[in-house]
């Protein structure tokens, strides 16, 4: 790591002010991505602003029938929350499947979505559950939040404060883990709201996307068989030593079917 100045503000306003003071300052969530990056000397922030002492960024509440989850809520808290389990059990399942215990005990919802790793799990829930991302400045529709690989709609200096997820009638997340990192090679979040079905795919492409053909098919017949023969195109999908684009395209259908089956 290079040297930096560490700050631990206790209010959102203080954090925003500190962040505004230097272009090279960075927010610290659970540190699960940022700290390894610093250890490998791949980033050189002047200041680290730890969000961990800001009460406004924490906690899980029921809101408008759905859930509002503070940005600095750890994955383990979401996974083990009775409230989440009752309102949107698929979201608790998703959180429970992130990384390993150590990562879940540290990593946060805000850090995960702001990092916008193409193989992160939460982006699929943000899109499938018609979420709204709240920041210290505005509200951003979940559909508009992820703009590319490691890219979001956030402006410089903007801080995510919470995410509200809408409650679906049925939902499930099916993940095909990278055997080494345990991130998603492909993760598919399927959610049904009345006659509308959302199928959000993470891991497969540069950024989370909706499989609209699958959504249409499932809206007519919410069963795994409805997806028979429906495949996303492999063009433009990610490819690495673990999974080719073709394999990922294939897995999207397999995982989508499994998610539909699990959603019941």
């Amino acid at each position: 790591m290079y040297e930096f100045t560490y700050h631990r503000p206790t209010s959102l306003a203080d954090a925003a002010a500190m962040l505004g003071r230097s272009e090279e300052a960075k927010l610290l969530g659970g540190g699960q991505t940022l700290l390894p990056t610093l250890k490998q000397r791949l980033a050189r922030p002047s200041d680290l602003i730890d969000l961990g002492q800001i009460a406004e960024l924490k906690g899980i509440r029921e809101e408008a029938g759905g859930l509002a989850i503070g940005a600095f809520t750890r994955h383990a808290e979401v996974a083990h929350s009775d409230l989440v389990r009752r309102v949107i059990p698929a979201l608790a399942d998703l959180a429970e499947g992130i990384g390993d215990r150590q990562v879940r005990n540290m990593g946060t919802l805000g850090g995960s979505i702001c990092n916008a790793d193409p193989s992160a799990d939460y982006p699929s829930a943000v899109v499938a559950l018609k979420a709204t991302v709240k920041t210290d400045r505005r509200e951003i529709a979940g559909d508009d939040f992820f703009t590319g690989m490691f890219e979001t709609a956030l402006e410089p200096g903007e801080i995510v404060t919470s995410v509200t997820f809408q409650k679906p009638d049925k939902a499930a997340y099916a993940k095909f883990r990278n055997p080494a990192s345990r991130y998603a090679i492909v993760g598919v979040f399927v959610a049904r709201f009345g006659g509308e079905v959302r199928v959000a795919v993470t891991g497969a492409g540069p950024s989370v996307f909706r499989a609209t053909d699958m959504e249409t098919a499932l809206a007519g017949n919410f069963s795994p068989d409805a997806l028979n023969g429906i495949k996303v195109a492999s063009d433009g999908l990610n490819a690495d030593i673990h999974a080719s684009a073709d394999y990922r395209a294939h897995l999207v259908t397999v995982m989508a079917k499994r998610a539909v089956a699990a959603a019941g």
Binding site: M1, Y2, Q40, R41, F176, P179, A180, S181, D240, I241, H242, A243, S244, Y247, H250, L251, V254
Partner: protein, 796 residues
């Protein structure tokens, strides 16, 4: 009554309380007053000429004490890291042994090759300054894979090694093999890759160098499996320090798997630099450095053919292997694909003729050397895959085909056509025990049940035999070993009856502090708490060879037994004197020295006290004290053997392989501590399963960059990847030539498991027409194989 902590007792590992509570002392835990920190500048290129190094800016960075390069080492006449085993090619010429300097001089030959070292007050300062060292590289084309490196057009890793060929060696009788193939009713053929692995010991390598100006003594504390070997190699060949002025300490070591046998350049650098800068120098590898620079394992590309007669009897085996040595010869690298590999190609079978050719090749990759099993897993994998192919092709049941060809127990001792003489083993018995453990007869029903759930099920076998406790020294010497292969021990009774055992073996996870103490507890009836095992310090223990090749108990334990024999002989004399009996009348019973036929008896504690306070002692006949040393040079290798059976279920939609059942039956000879043995087997099996399903070291074939340079891409097996193992052993085939009857258990799991898993995987896919796939059977690879064969089947 037998000692509750004696031989055969599952004593819990005494060392674990220390390890589990964070109280172990590892090299990185050691800090010396006034210590400095070393960070290496490493080549970012697989192959590059070093045109110049400008350390000017780095030298002025905060905290920097020195920046040293290969040129500085050359000026100080530092030598090359020696290779401990010399192989001769078919034509009699010695292997090519290009120099391997601790810091590269004019050329860097793999990504991670050290080109300079920065020494600073803190590690962070050294890291900061390392980024300021300007190395003027001229990138050169790289030879990355072994097959391409040999093709005659590849860039040369060393200018004076033509065709990158280190040696072209062979073993066995080519003419006899050719004749047998001419008679064969069937020939099974197989091309297979045994992929490169990265060892991944939990503790990264580390080293602390110290120099005492007052005494002229150097001390190296290092993560080593064999400190005396390091002292000998580094002292005599690299730094020119005589043994009496060089102490090497290997304190607690957190796993080695072979990778900490070798003498690494960093050890020489910190030892040399400590004198140069006049302060202790410490280096601890970062995990990324471990990936790049720990000696890797395996990396064989082979073609194999097995000739059978019409009844399925094996007639001959022919093998051609290309073994990747990496950029330089690591300490024992040449012995691995030769005497630890080709000599094992008979396996458990009475194949009368075997011929193996091995080409060892230099590439622009990290050096490759022994990794748990070292040559023997490669041999086992090759034979057992080939036997399974032969079974499939001839239609003979795979268990039956093996049974038909086993060397029968009645044929022991058995001379193989590839130089080894097996002393004991009952291979059919291993199989007989294993089959009911996995309900072999019920497999078809389980397969049908899996099919109903849309899954493919397969069952695979591997029988293995390994040669452990490499020996005797003179035989190994004739085969090219440049070291002895004995072990040392000293058993020192103290005046009040407690014991310190000094062993040349080195524990880095094996539990010696428990097993070795059990030997003493059993022999002399002392409570195990009164026995201390000391290892890993050249200033304390007699010259020892350390731990590798599952040798500790068979060789190191035997040395302890020999030292205990000497203690007992002397104690008998003392007892006879004290009890006023004839020496011949003294019997040792449950650790007590008894006058035969009487109730007159002494404990070893009584005798030890008299030995050190010799008031009633035969001083004109015996020296005082009770402290004996022994060296044990084995008469033969030991031959652990066994039968592993694996059952897998494959999800054809995703290609995921699940190991659903695994049984291991092993013959380790006599077992001292069943709990530790079972732990060793479990760990070995997981490593073998890791190779079969998960682990793969991948370099970019053009640039030579290590793609799997972190755990994000290098997949280690996890606890939840493996089933509960069914493990059994039997003890009725003890080793005939060491006093304990033990064979060794450290590598067995790794040797058998990969083949068993892959045989199960291929079996599960066999209905699709699959006859082979290479490791690791990752989800995508399995899926691709299924795709190819489903399409092929559909096209038919």
């Amino acid at each position: 009554m037998a000692n509750p902590n004696g031989i055969g007792a599952s004593v819990r590992r005494r060392e674990d309380a220390r390890f589990l509570t964070g109280r172990g002392t590892y090299t990185d835990d050691i800090s010396r007053p006034n210590q400095t920190h070393a960070v290496f500048v490493r080549s970012p290129y697989a192959h590059a000429r070093i045109r110049g190094i400008d350390a000017g800016e780095a030298m002025t960075a905060p905290g920097v004490v020195a920046v040293l390069t290969g040129a500085d080492m050359e000026a100080d006449k530092v030598g090359s890291l020696p290779c401990g085993w010399q192989i001769h090619s078919k034509d009699g010429s010695p292997m090519k042994e290009p120099p391997h300097f601790p810091i590269a001089r004019d050329r860097a030959r793999y990504v991670g090759d050290a080109v300079a070292v920065v020494i600073a007050e803190t590690r962070e300062q050294a890291r900061d300054a390392a980024e300021l060292v300007m190395v003027d590289y001229e990138e050169l084309p790289a030879a990355v894979t072994s097959v391409k490196a040999l093709d005659g057009t590849a860039p040369l890793v060393h200018d004076d090694v033509a065709g990158n060929l280190c040696f072209d060696w062979h073993l066995g009788d080519a003419a006899a093999v050719d004749a047998a193939f001419a008679q064969a009713a069937h020939v099974a053929k197989l091309d297979l890759v045994n992929q490169r692995l990265i060892p991944n010991a939990m503790e990264p390598r580390a080293a602390v160098g110290e120099y005492d100006r007052a005494t002229g003594e150097h001390t190296l504390t290092t993560t080593s499996q064999n400190p005396h070997v390091i002292r000998l190699l580094m002292g005599a060949f690299v730094l020119g320090i005589p043994e009496h002025k060089l102490r090497v300490v290997a304190p607690d070591v957190g796993g080695g798997f072979g990778s900490k046998i070798f003498h690494y350049g960093e050890e020489a650098v910190v030892t040399w630099a400590a004198r140069k800068v006049g302060r202790p120098v410490k280096w601890t590898a970062e995990r990324s450095e471990s990936f790049l620079t720990d000696a890797h394992g395996r990396d064989h590309v082979s073609h194999a053919e097995l000739a059978l007669d019409k009844d399925g009897n094996f007639l001959a085996l022919r093998v051609a292997t290309i073994a990747n040595m990496g950029a330089y010869l690591s300490t024992f690298a040449p012995s691995i694909p030769t005497y630890l590999y080709a000599t094992l190609l008979a396996g458990q079978y009475k194949t009368p003729a075997i011929y193996a050719e091995v080409k060892a090749v230099f590439t622009n990759t990290a050096p490759v050397d022994a990794y748990r099993g070292a040559g023997r897993p490669e041999a086992c994998y090759l034979i057992e895959r080939l036997v399974e192919v032969a079974a499939a092709e001839t239609g003979i049941d795979k268990a039956e085909l093996r049974r038909r060809n086993f060397v029968p127990a009645s044929a022991m001792p058995y001379q193989t056509p590839v130089a080894l003489q097996y002393d004991t083993g009952d291979f059919a018995k291993n199989l007989d025990i294993a089959l009911p453990m996995v309900d072999y007869a019920g497999f078809a029903a389980r397969k049908a049940e899996s099919a109903r759930r849309g899954k493919l099920r397969g069952i695979g076998f591997a029988t293995y035999i390994e040669a452990c406790g490499i020996a005797p020294s003179n035989v190994a010497g004739a085969l090219g070993a440049r070291a002895g292969l004995y072990e040392s021990a000293e058993v020192r009774f103290h005046p009040t009856g407690s014991v310190t055992v000094f062993t040349g073996s080195h524990s880095h996870g094996q539990g010696h502090e428990t097993t070795f103490a059990q030997l003493v507890a059993e022999r002399f009836g002392v409570p195990i708490e009164n026995v201390e095992i000391v290892h890993g310090d050249t200033s304390k223990i007699p010259f020892g060879m350390g731990t590798y090749g599952s040798r500790s108990l068979a060789v190191g334990g035997s040395a302890i037994v020999k030292a205990m024999d000497k203690v007992e002989r002397k104690a008998k004399k003392i007892a006879a004197h004290m009890l006023e009996a004839a020496e011949t009348d003294i019997e040792v019973k449950d650790g007590r020295f008894v006058v035969a036929g009487t109730d007159k008896a002494l404990s070893i504690g009584d005798i030890a006290l008299q030995a050190y306070v010799p008031h009633n002692f035969p001083l004109d006949e015996l020296e005082p004290g009770l402290d004996e040393q022994a060296f044990y040079d084995p008469k033969n290798f030991t031959y652990p053997n066994g039968c592993h059976v694996c059952e897998v279920e494959i999800d054809p939609e995703t290609g995921v392989v699940e190991v659903v059942n695994f049984a291991a039956v092993d013959d380790f000879g006599r077992v001292i501590n069943p709990l530790i043995v079972e732990g060793q087997v479990h760990g070995g099996l997981v490593q073998g399963i890791g190779q079969a399903l998960y682990e793969n070291c991948v370099y970019d074939e053009e640039s030579g960059q290590l793609i799997t340079g972190s755990y994000m891409d290098y997949c280690m097996p996890r606890a939840d990847d493996v089933p509960s193992f069914a493990v059994q052993y039997h003890e009725d085939q003890p080793c005939t030539h060491n006093p304990l009857g033990v064979k060794g258990c450290g590598e067995a799991g790794t040797i058998g498991a990969s083949a068993a898993v892959m045989n199960a995987v291929v079996h599960a896919l066999s209905d699709l027409g699959v006859t082979h796939m290479d490791m690791p059977a990752t989800p995508e690879r399995v899926w691709q194989v299924i795709q190819r064969h489903s399409h092929a089947q559909a096209a038919e």
